[in-house]
Every structure is written in C-alpha cells, then in structure tokens.
Symmetry: C2
Amino acid sequence: MERQFDEELKHLKQMLLRMADTAQEMTGLAVRALAERKEDLIGQVFKLEESVNKMEIEIENDVLRLLALRQPAASDLRLLTAILKINNDLERVADQACNIAETAEYLLKEPPIKPLIDIPSMAEFVQKMIRRSIEAFVNHDPVLAQKVCEEDDKVDQLNEKIFRVLLTYMMEDPKSITRAVDLILVARNLERIADHATNISEDVVFIEEGKNIKHHAQETK
Amino acid sequence: MERQFDEELKHLKQMLLRMADTAQEMTGLAVRALAERKEDLIGQVFKLEESVNKMEIEIENDVLRLLALRQPAASDLRLLTAILKINNDLERVADQACNIAETAEYLLKEPPIKPLIDIPSMAEFVQKMIRRSIEAFVNHDPVLAQKVCEEDDKVDQLNEKIFRVLLTYMMEDPKSITRAVDLILVARNLERIADHATNISEDVVFIEEGKNIKHHAQETK
C-alpha cells in the first residue's frame, strides 16, 4: 500500500509538471501575440486555459481521493496540502496569461506605441521562474526554490523599468495613454505570475526544510 | 468524537470570520488613508497584516491536525479543503490591501489630482462582498454565494468607470500621469479583492450544491 501511495504521488507530480508547462506556455503565447502582433496566438491561449481548468479539477479530485482512502501520515499530508496550493497557484498563472491575451486582443486593434522588448524578456524570465519552482517541488530541491524566491527582486526591477519607459511615452503623446496603461497592466500580470512562482517556491522550502519562510523571511535572514 | 469534530470545525469557521473581518478592515483603512489623506492609517494596515499572517498559519495548522487525527469522511474532507482555499484567498485579500497602503504611502507625498469618490465606493462594495462570501460559507448559504458571484460584474463596471475618468485627467495634464496610473492600480487591487470574494463564493456553491460552477458557469446557465 505504501508503494501504491508513492505511485499515486508520482502521478500527481507529473500532472503538476504538465499543468505548469501549459500555464507557462500560455504566458509565452499571450506575450508573443502582443509583441509580434499575431492574433491567431490569442485563441491558442484561451484553448489551453480549458485544459488547465480540467487539470486543476482532476488534481484536486485525486488529492481528495488520496486523503480519504490512504489517511496519510503527517509528512505526506503536508505534501498533499502543498499540491492543492500549487494547483491553485498554477490555475491563477493561467488566469493571468488569459488577462494578457485579452489585453493583446484589444491592443492589436490599435497601432503599436513602440516595439516591445522588455515585456518579452520579463515574460521569458517569469516563465522560467514557474518552471523552476515546479522542478524544485518535484525534485525536493529547496536550494533551487530559494533561488527562485530571490529572483523576484529582478522581476520588480523589470516592472519598474517598463513603467518608467512607458511613462515617458505617455508624457510625450497623450494619445498613447490608454495603450501605455494597458502595457503597464501586462507587466503587472507578469509580476503576479512571478508572485505565484515565489509562493510555490516558499511552499517547497517550507516542506523541505520544515520552516515557514513566507512570513518570517526578514527574521531568519 | 463526531461532536468534537463539529466543535473544531466551528472554531475554524470563527477564525475564518475573524480573518475576513480583519482583511476587509485593512481594505477600508488603506482606501481611507488614500482618500482622506490620513497617513497614520497606513501603519495600521501593515500592523493588521501581521495578525492576518498569524491567523493564516494557525488555520492551516489546525486543518492539517484535523486531517491527520480525525480522518474525516468525504464531505468533511471537502469542507476542510475549502477552508484551506478560503484561508489562502483571505491572505491574498490582505496582500492587496497592503499594496493599496503602499501606493497610498507614495501618493500622500504628492498633491491630489482630484477628490476620490468612486474608489471609496468600490472599496465599500468589495468589502461587503468579502463579508458576504464568508457569511455564505459559515451559514451554508449557496443563494447568498451566488449573489456575490453576480456582483462581480458591478465591480468590473466601477473599475471601467474609474479608468475612463482618470484617463481624461491624464490627457488634460500629463504631469498627473504617474499619480493617475497609481490610482488605476488601486482600482485593480480592489478588483482582485472582488475576485477573491468570487472564488470563495464559488467554493461555497460547489460545496453546498455539489457542482463546480467555476469552470462550467456558461454551460449550466
């Protein structure tokens, strides 16, 4: 029975990996749609969201079934709770990607203010954070998780930079304001995705090192 | 033993109510700090966040302990999982309130662009959504929960209105752009809080009516 439980955990982790892959792919597609002005990519994002939603429900049901049938010990319980949380974070990453796709849908009807360079780099960066946070979870790697947490500062800097550059465009040409604000919101969406990667990584550190860095980060440093 | 489980569930629900009260109070304080230009309220928001963080950890530990000790049946399991999720949503509401407080901190150093009217009404509205979503949970009231879900449209309209009004200010006076964008982001933070109230309400409908309206809202309508 113990071995069967391990098998089921392994299956759950594989599903989380697939879900993370899909959510970060959606992020990449939504930003490419926007930056490369490829409208057909927007539909792909919404299509992938449906499969993320299905995966979320499947994972949640599997965890509940495992909880009910196997009555796991404390450490496995913590693992299963973490899977529920990570599941939730990944679904919200997918939501943010959809928000970006919706903004892209609107922005592609207007002429571009400028070529987008920083937003695609920010997207690549946060996509990597999502991938690495799940890898850290699956491979029990708190060191990698800690690294992902630290990368959040870089994301804040990128976000700040994007904001400042767009501000100058708005100042120079008030007609660009609506579009510039939309781009600022896209950067915010990416920042939220990085937050989810950080949440996941904090959960990994918590499980692996048995301490909660989330609310005590300052004290333990 | 069954009765003791009920007692513990009751205690958990009371903690969630307290946490929801605190999170919505933080939202109100942060927006009042901004609208009434009362800097001292900002510190109160950050202070309350500490207690929300403590409550989050306490609730999570209690749920895990209950899961491990009581090995609850399927329906109680779903309830406990919902508590974990709601706990997470409320902590994120508190996070959004802190974001607003941080923005207020910056904006109070600058002269106001305009008297704020719509943002405080939006705040009141989403505070009520949070309270009602938790009431729906505690009182097993899927009808109230459904109402909260429907209120999300009103929030989107308010958000849209705030955006349009601020846009005109930016167009007329480019020097107001930074502050106007900050106010747009405050409205976004409030919109996110409404999203959490909607998430909680969807969980309530799911538990009480045993159907997942989250991803099937369109199909079942």
